[in-house]
Symmetry: C2
């Protein structure tokens, strides 16, 4: 079965990041299905017609996002109808609910442009939009290919993620689940601390052995994204118990060769894993950030419930802030500089003392593009770590852009904390 | 001319966000060109062959990203070669440079899997990869379509953005610039504070008038992304002066109807615009963040040079931190709660006093999914603002997910500061 996604919107061809494709891909993967392809196409009618025609021909389920808005460049409904030689009508009930949407927001009269959003393809089911004015549509249709007719399904979803996601979850996901035949399970092991090549060399024997065996099929994939390497495998077969056993065995074996470098599975992030550890052990953490500028705190607080283990964070960019807010000694800054192991240590100690928590980590470095000297190049980052017993500092040299260096530093700090927690709580017991 | 991007990698179909497409799209737009389509396709040979064949047939310039790595699922080079019936050879110079790359990183022996990365399509030019082991390739080829032969260009680029971007800038961008015939200029006006529908209603007369006139062609597009609305237009024509005049006139007219809601152009962000204002006026800002958890500081420090106007930020999640780090009164927290205008004000006053800067803003709210009460629902956010003269608080009710609410709160704070700066420095003069 072919499931295809067509994302419309000229902005997707001119610099806008397409997050809908990632969202829908991950939702499908979660129910053991996969997208066969994603196409981004502009708002020009001819381009859209061409892509819709191809998708309707070759795929069984076609999902589109975008082009349902009120403006002149929203042409998904009319183009899909044209492609299928179906008519469009203005749905009274939809029109009424759009008017109510405006009324609720204290806009007495619906802008005239929004009328278009009540246009529905004949035979389509209307999918309610709880977070915007554009309704979605679901259509069963028959497509002729040579002499044969094929029954297919089309979903038209809005483009804004905040409207698309709930509509997908309420309408498309239950539909897809009914299609998920046989058993197929996807697993991702998330790895930090060794290179992509090293991961491949280490897991090669596991992969080679896994290919033998009956009644199942295993596929592997490796993906490096900056400093995080994802080892993905999918196991399919007819017997769920056997598939589950194979998944467990592979997880165990890959963990065995990659050791502590595996930090989590599937949707785990370094921040969520660290959060789990802290929560379980009833410990708290604080940060003092210079070059990461608040990104560590942002990552930690992305996790709902982080208030239970996250105390606080001070973003101290200037020397003055480091002295005033964190108690870094002026002489340390003069003697060693702001970007030094000594400053990193004092920053960590300062925030630990201030917050009264269990752990504190700090960053100070040169994210670039400016600020480098001969001794201190762009990418030099010091990380400080303090708990009630001791303070340490670690030196790193990262490559890449300002954005890349900052991202890397955030991951490095979170991973450092993770490894400290493993040593304290996991290894001690064994 | 058709320029097409094919992004390979099963991860793009299973939840990974494709940032390369956005980057390449924006680069093309900057030189007045545009992508005709983007296709994401998995690492299966048959799928890849099908997409490559279609792209080679219908497009003049084909750019691929991904599949140049050392692992078994990296099959871009062999598949492109097969599709074009060309041979592959192992390039000695490339092999040597990969070995050197490992040596530099203190890995004496290159892992054997990396040998594959020296495989080059016969006739292709090797594009150096300064940030990784996978070289890129550029190939002129002829493709037969019916009786005619067409001369086309293929670029194979690596998938990791940190490797792809510099290779694109050094090799693909200069090549594309030579193709940019005629004059075409793209402009984006970035808008915050009014809805997409309201923007459309307001600019309609401007759009209608712009369509008349000779010697130029104007296209409009509107894109809403959560709370930011982008008004995009592209003007093309033969006479650069005339095109420039049209761009200026349209910018002026759209600004005129959308007023202060236009916060910037093209690549401006709320953080960069606020940064420019502060820098020019030699003023500084600090933040006290609760529900935004460091995201305001992260946005501000994403801008290189922000150390000149950003003093510091305190992420105070707990009541204890609000009291200890920001001097919020315990009685305020008891009487009004942590999520209240009073607490927001005291947070802003606290960080202003502490930092000694010119402006301070604070956030306190319920990002969800937990933490709501009947009186204080998810999405309720208070923003505090303090300068040397006065302190104010503002109440907001945002819709959406935890992520959406936090993002919205960050934009709202930055926009609030922007409007304050406009009143103080721009409007005062006039």
């Amino acid at each position: 079965m072919r499931i295809e996604l067509v994302c419309t919107g000229s902005e997707l061809l001119a610099g806008k990041i397409n997050t809908n494709a990632a969202y829908i891909g991950s939702k499908l993967a979660a129910v053991g299905l996969e997208l066969s392809s994603v196409v981004d196409v502009g708002d020009k009618k001819q381009d859209l017609l061409q892509e819709f025609k191809r998708a309707f021909e070759r795929s069984n389920i076609i999902i589109t996002t975008g082009g349902l808005g009120p403006t002149f460049d929203d042409i998904t409904v009319e183009t899909a109808a044209e492609c299928l030689s179906l008519e469009i009508y203005s749905d009274e009930k939809v029109l009424k609910s759009i008017k109510e949407y405006f009324a609720k927001r204290a806009v007495a009269v619906m802008p005239k442009v929004n009328e278009r959003q009540a246009n529905i393809i004949k035979g389509a089911k209307v999918l309610e939009n709880r977070f915007g004015t554009a309704p979605g549509q679901m259509l069963y249709f028959e497509f002729k290919c040579g002499d044969k007719k094929f029954r297919k399904t089309l979903f038209l979803l809005p483009g804004p993620p905040s409207e698309m996601k709930p509509m997908f979850e309420e309408n498309v996901e239950p539909f897809l689940k009914s299609y998920s035949v046989g058993i197929r399970k996807n697993t991702t092991l998330r790895v930090f601390g060794i290179s992509e090549s090293a991961v491949v060399e280490k897991i090669k024997p596991v992969m080679e052995e896994a290919k033998f065996g009956d009644g199942k099929s295993v596929e592997f994939g490796i993906l490096a994204n900056d400093s995080i390497v994802d080892v993905k495998f999918s196991v399919s077969g007819k017997d769920e118990l056997f598939v589950d056993e194979t998944v467990s065995k592979l997880k165990f074996e890959i963990n065995n060769v990659l050791e502590d470098n595996v930090f989590g599975y599937d949707n785990d992030t370094l921040a969520s894993v660290v959060g789990c550890f802290l929560l379980k052990k009833n410990k708290t953490v604080s940060f003092a950030e210079s070059c990461t500028g608040g990104k560590i705190a942002a990552a930690i607080t992305d996790i709902a419930g982080s208030s239970l283990y996250f105390k606080n964070s001070v973003v101290a960019y200037s020397n003055e802030s480091k002295i005033k807010l964190l108690g870094v000694k002026e002489e340390t800054l003069i003697k060693f500089g702001a970007v030094s192991g000594e400053t990193a240590k004092e920053m960590a100690e300062g925030i630990l003392k201030f917050s009264g928590g269990d752990y504190a980590l700090s960053t100070t470095g040169i994210a670039g593009p400016g600020g480098a000297t001969k001794e201190k190049p762009v990418g030099l980052v010091y990380v400080g770590f303090a708990d009630k017993k001791k303070t340490e500092s670690f030196k790193f040299n990262f490559n890449g852009s300002r954005e890349g260096i900052r991202e890397r530093a955030v991951n490095t700090v979170l991973d450092l904390l993770r490894r400290k927690l493993i040593i304290q709580f996991v290894k001690k017991r064994s």
